[in-house]
């Protein structure tokens, strides 16, 4: 039977997007569970930020085997930035990296982010989305920094709600 390329591609594309949507929904469903158990005294933002930290700690474990200082500072920062953008892209974003003004600075720019839409579905404030991403990245960078003995920081410079426009994050050697 000849392969119908259009059919095969659209089928795979649908499956991928379905799976990506589940990433966000699963996170926010678990957020609800955690809040129920945590009770009223705990601020939802604190719960989400702690989750972001734990995610970051685990993700960093897959970063460490691949880090290579032999590529020089600029190469190292670029690869690191691309790896951070890659996590976002896996979820369905379009994130790219740009070199900054010096070898120790990289910008991650995201022009399509599915997270604010998912958050809205679950009534989660937009602010939380941006703070969680920043916290997750920072948590990854803590381990990367400790591993390489270089202090690394990330800051959210521009966060656009509901995924329109461009979100900008700065990754730099502190």
């Amino acid at each position: 039977m000849p392969v119908n390329v259009e059919k095969e591609l659209s089928q795979s594309w649908k499956r991928l997007h379905g799976a990506q949507a589940e990433i966000g929904k699963t996170f926010y469903r678990w957020r609800q569970v955690a809040l129920e158990f945590a009770g009223d005294e705990v601020a939802p933002l604190d719960v989400s930020l702690r989750a972001a930290e734990i995610f970051g700690k685990d993700i960093s474990k897959s970063f460490l085997p691949r880090l290579n200082w032999l590529k020089g500072e600029e190469g190292f920062m670029l690869i690191l930035g691309k790896a951070l953008a890659g996590i976002w892209n896996t979820d369905g974003a379009i994130a790219k990296v740009e070199k900054g003004d010096n070898p120790g600075e990289i910008f991650i720019k995201c022009s399509r982010d599915p997270w604010p839409t998912w958050a809205k579905e679950f009534g989660v404030p937009m602010e939380e989305v941006a703070l969680c991403r920043e916290r997750m990245y920072q948590s990854i960078l803590e381990d990367v920094g400790a591993f390489m003995n270089i202090p690394l920081k990330v800051e959210m410079q521009k966060a656009i709600s509901r995924g329109q426009g461009e979100t900008v994050m700065r990754l730099y050697k502190a």
């Binding site: 039977m1 095969e8 960093s60 085997p65 880090l67 400790a146 591993f147 003995n149």
Partner: protein, 662 residues
């Protein structure tokens, strides 16, 4: 005058004439060692999980002691802390209390009974430790690069003092147990090397900073251990000569050499030259690294220190160490995996029986097992870790002599043949090929060291000849032949069958067999699809990629090379990437067309891959001849790939075990 423990006279032995430098004495501290052979310390996970020595561990060591023919024989590194942070392996021997001394003494006694020099090793596994607890310890809390290891707790000054004392106390216990040489292990990322390396030691107190600061704890350990051992027991250290950690800013070579000099100043009597780390991205001891690749590091070490230098690392054959010792570039031939594969290896060399050595194939299964908390086994040596079981070491003679027909002279058939014959059976091996070796005739043509697999056949051939096995090469065994011969027992070692691609009927001229490709018989186009993503398919893919072909692998396993053990598999994945080989895993070929093949994922997504040739490397169980054997009422065994397509190791282990039973 230096002390001699046992008198050994090697004159008259062919090996001592052929390799004179290996069998001449050398002084270590105040001890005279009769030769230059050392069985290097080897964890084997054979001890009880509370650190006590077992019968299996003692028997394992006794065999290796026979092998060193008077040389150094080291037991595995012991951990020394009750909290078990320094314990790297579930079956690692312990020495944190006097209660362990009687067990350790059993090992020392066994080594002495074989007239070997007994070596004791102190090994706190540092950031590779804590196999039974939540945190390991180290000079600084540098995150782990490899997921399997536990998080590191930074040691306080008091912790460091305690660890120094633990080394001293454990050394005293080793001496009381009767050991003759003491060794501190600073190998591959264990605690000593964690202190020395700029990668893992970020301390700003007196135990960190420059290389002298980073060596402070090591110097305190050396001095303490020396004092505990007294003048008659030489103390050595295993030290990294090149960490291969430049990518994470580890030590420079100059710093490593400085660590050698500082250890010598602190009083060590010898240094064992090691290299690499568990966390290094560079391979050091897998089969793709040629034998002798690292020997120049011993020479460099000798240029920096005066104490004797010992070294292992892919020195699997005696020629090179003999030459280098003769040239003054090495003092001791250390051996680890070659004596896992054949405990009597140096003894056979001495006795002029080199062709009887069962050679290690550097697959690193031994290591992979340790990291999976399993007792060590050897890919190629079925007796390894069964040394305490006489059924394995000395299989009983056959109760009645049988005529055994073995069909297939591949590794499974040959292994079975010599074992059965040595137990008193009349054994006939048939193969339709004109040569022995089975599929290894083709497998050995795969790149990155697979030619070493053939050493297994060389060994088996000699063993078969010694045991009086009769060969009938160029003879296909048919139903008629079995009915004519009616042997008492048939062992089918016929290898796998290679299934057909059903949908290829119309375009079958494109389809070739893996073995024909590997032997150069088949014509292969520029674009190739290999069906099957286990090691044979990968070996073939790399072989073709080296000829400049564009290769795609399509296979049903979830990951390519799942049959290669994890300590070696990562090398193949890198070679595949570097060769531009694309692997579609969890997939199958559902159609062969004029242009190529249609590939389908497990969940039904399909696409086309253009190719000129399709190579079949998928294998299946071989049921040929089973029925006729059974219908004639003949005892039947099936071994190796014929039973279930697997690998050389299963072939050898199956063959040996059936050879023991038949």
């Amino acid at each position: 005058m230096a002390k001699t423990l046992f008198e050994w006279d090697y004159s008259g032995f062919p090996g001592a004439e052929k390799y004179p430098h290996l069998f001449k004495p050398i002084q270590l501290g105040n001890l005279m060692v009769p030769n230059r052979v050392k069985y290097a310390a080897t964890e084997e996970n054979l001890n009880a999980h509370d650190g006590f020595v077992t019968d299996a561990g003692v028997a394992y060591m006794r065999e290796r002691a026979k092998g060193v023919v008077g040389g150094l024989c080291f037991m595995q590194g012991v951990y020394m802390d009750e909290k078990r942070q320094g314990q790297g392996y579930v079956g690692q021997a312990a020495a944190w209390d006097d209660k362990f001394i009687p067990g350790l003494k059993r090992i020392a006694d066994a080594l002495h009974e074989e007239r070997a020099v007994a070596g004791f090793q102190l090994m706190d596994c540092g950031r590779v430790g804590a196999v039974e607890v939540d945190y390991c310890h180290g000079p600084s809390a540098v995150p782990q690069r490899l997921r399997i290891f536990k998080p590191v707790q930074e040691m306080t000054r008091d912790d460091i003092k305690a660890v120094v004392q633990q080394h001293v106390d454990a050394a005293r216990r080793g001496v009381e147990a009767g050991f003759d040489v003491m060794e501190i292990s600073g190998i591959v990322g264990y605690l000593i090397s964690n202190f020395i390396s700029s990668y893992t030691n970020r301390r700003t107190d007196e135990y960190g900073g420059d290389i002298r600061g980073r060596m402070r704890a090591v110097v305190e350990i050396i001095e303490g251990v020396k004092a505990a051992c007294g003048p008659d027991i030489p103390v050595g250290i295993r030290l990294c000569s090149e960490e291969l950690l430049d990518d994470v800013r580890g030590n420079t070579i100059e710093e490593s050499m400085e660590s050698y000099k500082i250890s010598e100043e602190a009083g060590v009597d010898y240094i064992s030259c090691t290299l690499g780390w568990q966390e290094s991205i560079y391979p050091v001891i897998s089969r793709d690294i040629p034998m002798g690749n690292w020997i120049h590091l011993a020479k460099r070490a000798k240029e920096h220190v005066k104490v004797p230098i010992q070294m292992a690392y892919r020195l699997f054959k005696p020629g090179l160490p003999n030459e280098k010792i003769g040239a003054g570039e090495l003092d001791f031939w250390e051996i680890c995996r070659s004596m896992i594969a054949d405990p009597l290896m140096p003894k056979k060399v001495l006795e002029g029986k080199e062709e009887e050595v069962r050679h290690c194939v550097a697959c690193n299964l031994c290591l992979a097992r340790l990291f999976r908390d399993a007792p060590m086994t050897c890919y190629i040596n079925p007796v390894c870790a069964h040394e305490s079981d006489p059924e394995f070491t000395d299989p009983p003679a056959a109760e009645e002599e049988k005529e055994v027909m073995i069909v297939g002279a591949g590794p499974a058939g040959l292994e079975c043949a010599y074992m059965a014959a040595s137990r008193g059976h009349e054994v006939h091996v048939y193969d339709k090929r004109d040569v022995i070796g089975g599929t290894l005739n083709e497998a050995k043509n795969a790149p990155y060291g697979d030619d070493e697999l053939w050493t297994c056949i060389e060994y088996q051939k000699v063993m078969c000849e010694k045991a009086g096995v009769e060969f009938h090469l160029g003879t296909e065994v048919t139903e008629a032949l079995i009915e004519e011969e009616v042997p008492d027992t048939v062992v089918l070692a016929t290898g796998p069958v290679y299934p057909e691609i059903e949908s290829a009927a119309k375009n079958s001229d494109k389809v070739v067999n893996l073995l024909d490709v590997m032997s150069g018989k088949a014509e292969v186009g520029e674009k190739v699809v290999i069906w099957g993503n286990r090691k044979p398919g990968i070996g073939c893919a790399l072989h073709l990629a080296k000829q400049g072909k564009k290769v795609t692998i399509v296979g049903k396993e979830r990951t390519a090379g799942f049959d290669i053990n994890p300590s070696f598999k990562w090398r193949y994945m890198i070679y595949m990437r570097q060769s531009g080989i694309v692997a579609y895993n969890d997939c199958d070929i559902v159609e062969v067309t004029e242009e190529g093949v249609t590939v389908q994922t497990y969940d039904g997504v399909r696409w086309q891959v253009a190719c000129d040739t399709i190579v079949v490397s998928e294998r299946a169980t071989n049921d040929n001849l089973k029925k006729v054997v059974q219908s004639e009422g003949i005892e039947l065994f099936v071994v190796g790939d014929a039973l279930i397509p697997r690998n050389l190791s299963s072939a050898v282990h199956d063959g040996y075990r059936i050879g023991m039973r038949v």
